[in-house]
Amino acid sequence: MIKTEMEIRKVSEMITVEHLKKYYREVRAVDDISFTVEKGELFGFLGVNGAGKSTTINMLCTLLKPTEGRALINGMELGKEDDEIKKHIGIVYQNNCLDHLLTVQENLLIRGGLYEKDKENLRHNLTRVTEILNLTDVLKRPFGKLSGGQKRRCEIARALMHTPDILFLDEPTTGLDPATRKNVWETVSKLQKEMGMTVFLTTHYMEEAAAADHIGIMDHGHLVEYGTPFSLKETYAKDKLYLIPKAEQREDIVMELRKNNLEYSVLEERIFVKLDSTLSAMPLLTKLEDRIQGFEVIQGTMDDVFLSVTEQ
């Protein structure tokens, strides 16, 4: 068999997606997307609601059959080796899917039992995940009685019962309070960093996405941007400079900005200037040194990236 370029390249790639499409009659939920996720990285998959993120995840998890295109998960071809793929992935859904009336332990043993046949290993896996996710205290309690954060941790534990190579997290922190969110988030980073697990994450919280190794942004079924958080910020998030003029100097400064063709706006006591890069503030500041009381440079955030990419 002749190996395609895709198969040769796959060694360091955990997920390779090529021209993946999913059409429902008129709706093009996912329209020709291609990207790769490296082994052991944290991949942030962003997009507004309805952009096609969940559809993509469901396809990669073998739940939906793509209309067209192909994908390799850890070297296995999607659609041909689905059963093998299922054994190597763990998925945390947006909604909780454990049973409310069963205890955490029962839930985890039942779900883990779908992957692991050996009772001994199953017990061992249970101990392992409860330690990682700090669930020892709640093991005997019914899942339905737990707090939102505990439930999420149980869901992650469920996805980890069979030590998957890839962990898919579909908006794992939506609807949680900030403290719990941080807690879940720390758990996820720990899994990725300490256990070398590949994490594929969708989220609405940009500060979470900023910690990813690579980011893909979906909009209307298309993958509109792909890159590291840094490179995306460089491209899309302009730095902001705030100048605080000395008394009577304001007009003067505005004249200077106009001369330099800079975009600006005058606020009450400050002048706001858009910058191409943080460094371009330097010459401007040197020039205006005598006329200002102070200044502030604010770096662009992932929010800016997200907004400017999806608003186009």
Binding site: L64, K86, I91, N95, D99, I110, L114, Y115
Partner: protein, 304 residues
């Protein structure tokens, strides 16, 4: 195999832990009990006593009343066992609808388990719990009947009743699962539950004896499996009590009574045999199973 047992256990546990669901799955049975206890029981007993008075020659009226009471009790028990087979399997199958409704099914589908195993585990759970509930009901009812002076059933009959319970439960578990494949929401399924729970008593000729139903209705019911299920169950439950009650009366009278009470069913001019009834029931179950497999297969493909 492990996965199958695992999932079946899960489905059973999820149902049994929900006390409300367990209670309401038996609601139709409670309705039958109340109807019989308060309104219809006496009527049925009196009709037996009157028959005996009219055709039985010189009789011990007290003994007749006592025998009639137990005969009606056994007759009711048979009806309840079938009602339970329907409503319990329906409620347990509701688990699947809930799982679908709450998005839990997706998490099961993403595990390396074949979809037929998942479906089979749902069906097995309802068979298992349906049988359990029927056997519990049977036990309690026998205890009550015997405690109030009725005759215990022989071992052979008990074994036959047990087999009939399993047969009924299996068939209705398959039919319910098939129905559930077309339902997308929990509230819709609960609606179906209410309708079925109300109708089952009439369709099985349990609230009212066959003879009291309008002819057209009675004719239609004969083509529905539940009536044959109850008829089979009734002949097993009532045989001994019938022999005991109808002493010294013409055989035609017994035959007529059996038909009136839906213990034996006439289709056309002929009484249908038990073998035919068992085959009819099994046939319905097998047809439902085949349709189910076809629908599930199509569903699996279009879902993906």
């Amino acid at each position: 195999m492990n996965q199958y047992i695992n999932l079946t256990k899960r489905n059973c546990k999820v149902f049994l832990r929900d006390r409300g669901a367990v209670f309401f799955s038996l609601l139709a049975m409670l309705i039958v009990l109340m109807l019989m206890g308060i309104f219809l029981g006496n009527m049925n007993e009196e009709s037996i006593v009157n028959l005996l008075k009219e055709y039985g020659g010189v009789r011990d009226a007290l003994a007749d009343e006592e025998n009639a009471k137990h005969l009606v009790q056994y007759w009711t028990l048979a009806g309840i066992l079938v009602v339970n087979a329907v409503t319990v399997t329906l409620t347990v199958t509701g688990n699947m609808v809930t799982d679908l409704h709450e998005g839990k099914l997706a998490s099961l589908y993403s595990a390396p388990v074949s979809r037929s195993v998942i479906a089979l585990a749902y069906i097995t759970a309802s068979v298992f719990i349906g049988t359990l509930m029927c056997v519990l009901t049977l036990g309690i009812a026998l205890f009550y009947i015997v405690a109030t002076g009725g005759q215990m059933l022989g071992y052979e009959m008990l074994a036959k009743i047990l087999l009939l319970i399993v047969l009924n439960v299996c068939i209705f578990a398959v039919i319910m699962y098939l129905a559930a494949l077309f339902v997308k929401s929990t509230s819709a399924w609960n609606g179906i539950g209410t309708v079925v729970g109300t109708l089952v008593g009439f369709v099985g000729a349990i609230y009212l004896p066959m003879g009291n139903l309008p002819e057209g209705v009675a004719a239609v019911l004969k083509y529905i499996p539940i009536l044959h299920g109850t008829a089979l169950m009734r002949s097993a439950c009532c045989e001994a009590a019938l022999d005991h009650t109808f002493t010294n009366v013409p055989a035609e009278l017994i035959a007529e009574y059996k038909e009136y009470m839906g213990i034996q069913i006439k289709m056309g001019e002929e009484l249908v045999s038990e073998t035919f009834q068992v085959l009819f029931l099994a046939g319905c179950g097998i047809i439902a199973l085949i349709v189910l497999m076809a629908v599930q297969k199509k569903r699996n493909i279009s879902d993906r």
